[in-house]
Amino acid sequence: MMEKKIIYMDNAATTPVKPEVLKAMLPYFTEKFGNPSGIYSISSDNRSAVDDARALIGTTIGTTPENIYFTAGGSESDNWAIKAAAEAYRDKGKHIITTKIEHHAVLHTCQYLEKCGYEVTYLDVDENGIVDLEQLERAIRPDTILISVMFANNEIGTVEPIAEIGKIAKEHGVLFHTDAVQAYTRLPIDVDAMHIDMLSASGHKINGPKGIGFLYIRKGVKIRSFVHGGAQERARRAGTENVPGIVGFARAAELATEHMEAYTAKERKVRDHMIARIEAEIPYARLNGDRERRLPNNVNFCFRFIEGESLLILLDGKGICASSGSACTSGSLDPSHVLLAIGLPHEIAHGSLRLTVSEDTTMEDADYVVDSLKEIVAHLRDMSPLYEDFVKKNRGDSYVQ
C-alpha cells in the first residue's frame, strides 16, 4: 500500500506545532522544569521565561505585559471574560450584547448566563456575516454591561468592524470583549486603537501548542478570578503555570507576527485561486462570508443538493482534511448556526465545506483539492434526490414528487 499524501486544509480547527516552537518548549519539560513560584534559582529561569513570553505577547496586540493573563485556551478565555465581567458589573446591569455567529464558547456561555437571570441580545448579521453597527448601537441600554463580538468568524472567515464597535462601546461606556482566536496573528490588532477591553486568543490556532491561551484584560477592568486558588497570573487565574505551553505560545506568536505580511499574502493568493476556480468550475456553489473582509486563509462554500459530512468523508478518502461547520460541533446534527444566521435555508446550510489553508499550502495542493472536489460534488449530486428533482424540474420533466 502506498503512503497517501495528506493535504491539511483545516488550519482553523487546529495547526501543527512548528519545529521552532517545539524547540523553544523542550527544555522546559525536563531541565528547566521548576515551578515559577519557587524561591530557588532554578525557578528564576522559568519565571523570566514566563515574563518574557508575557511581554512578547503584549507587544503583538499593542499592550504591556501586565494586561496579559495566560489561560488553558480560547474557550477558557471566552468563558472567563464573559462570566467574570457579568459578575463584576452585575450592579450596573444584567444586559449583554453579542452576535448570532459567535463561537460556542461565547454563545453557550451567554445562554448559561441567561439561565442565571441575565438578558442577552444576539445581534443579526447580514448575508456576508457582518454585524450592523446601527443595530448594535440601538441595542445598547443603560443596563448593558458587555458587548462581545468576535474579531473574525471561524467558519465563514468574515472579519467584523472591530475598531468601529470598540468606538461605539467606548462612547457608551460599555465593556468590549472580542474573541480573536481566529484573527490573532492573521490580522493586525491594536487593543488601544481599537478600544478593546478584553481579547481572547488560543495557542493551537497559530502553530503553538494546545492547552494554552490568553485573555487580555485592560488595566482598570474590574473582573476577577475565574479559577480561584494560588497567586499566579496576578492572583487572577490560579494554577501552576504551564511554562512549556506559555513559552511555545509566545514563540509561535512571535513567528506569526514577524511574518504576518508574508504568510498572509501567500495564504490570500491560494485562497483567492481556490475561490476563483470553484466558482468557475463547480455549478450551484455559493461562497459564504464576505469576499473582502475575510480571513486570509478561509475558503467556505455551500454546494447545493449535497450534504457536508459525505463530502468530508470522500475528501478524506483522497487525503484531504477539511471541515464543515466548526470542528467542535461535529457530532451535532444541526447545520451550522453561522450559516443559518447569514440566511441560508437548512438544506443549503447542510452542504457546507470549510477549507482553511496555511502559508505552507501550495498552488498544487490547492489545485488537487479543487479537482477532487469537482469530482466528489458531481458524484454526490448523482446520488442526490434533490439534484434529481432540480434537474427534472429544469428540464420540465413531468415526474417530480
Binding site: E307, S310, L333, E347, M383, P385, L386, E388, Q401
Partner: protein, 145 residues
C-alpha cells in the same frame, strides 16, 4: 467513527440510481434535517422485488443505510421486505454510532414509503404497512448535554 461495512457501503454504494416506470417510489426525510432518501422498487407479478434503487441526500450513514437496505430487499417478496427493520439494516452494517441511528430508521421508512406507493397504485393492501409519516427521524435527534 464508522464501521468498515458502513464505509464500504458509503464509498461504493450499491444500487444508486433511478428506475424508469418504477412499481413504487418513496421519498422520506427532509432537507432541513439533512437527510432525504428516495427508494425505487421494481416488483414483479409474484410480488417479488426484482430491482431496487436509491438516491440519498445525507451523511455517510444515510448513504450506507440506503445502500444496505436496497441489498436487503432485492429478491425478497413484498411481505419479506416488510421484515427488513432498521435494526436489521444496522446489524448488516456492523452497527452505527448513536447519533446516526435515525438514518437506519429513515431507510426502513423509505422502503415502507415505496411499498405504500406500490400498494396504492395497485389497489392492494400490505399487512402491517402504514401510510408513511411526512417527517421522520426528528424525535430521535437528542444530544447528550
Amino acid at each position: 467513527m464508522y464501521s468498515e461495512k458502513v464505509m464500504d457501503h458509503f464509498q461504493n454504494p450499491r444500487n444508486v440510481g433511478e428506475i424508469a416506470d418504477a412499481s413504487g417510489v418513496g421519498t422520506v426525510g427532509n432537507a432541513k434535517c439533512g437527510d432525504i432518501m428516495r427508494m425505487y422498487l421494481d416488483i414483479d407479478e409474484n410480488r417479488i422485488i426484482r430491482d431496487c434503487k436509491f438516491k440519498t441526500f445525507g451523511c455517510g450513514a444515510a448513504v450506507a443505510t440506503s445502500s444496505m437496505a436496497t441489498e436487503l430487499v432485492r429478491g425478497k417478496t413484498v411481505e419479506e421486505a416488510m421484515q427488513v427493520t432498521n435494526r436489521a439494516v444496522m446489524e448488516a452494517l456492523d452497527g452505527l454510532p448513536p447519533v446516526k441511528v435515525h438514518c437506519s430508521l429513515l431507510a426502513e421508512e423509505a422502503i415502507h414509503a415505496a411499498l405504500w406507493d406500490y400498494a396504492e397504485k395497485n389497489g392492494i393492501k400490505i399487512e402491517g404497512l402504514k401510510k408513511p409519516k411526512e417527517d421522520i427521524g426528528e424525535e430521535e435527534i437528542e444530544e447528550e448535554y
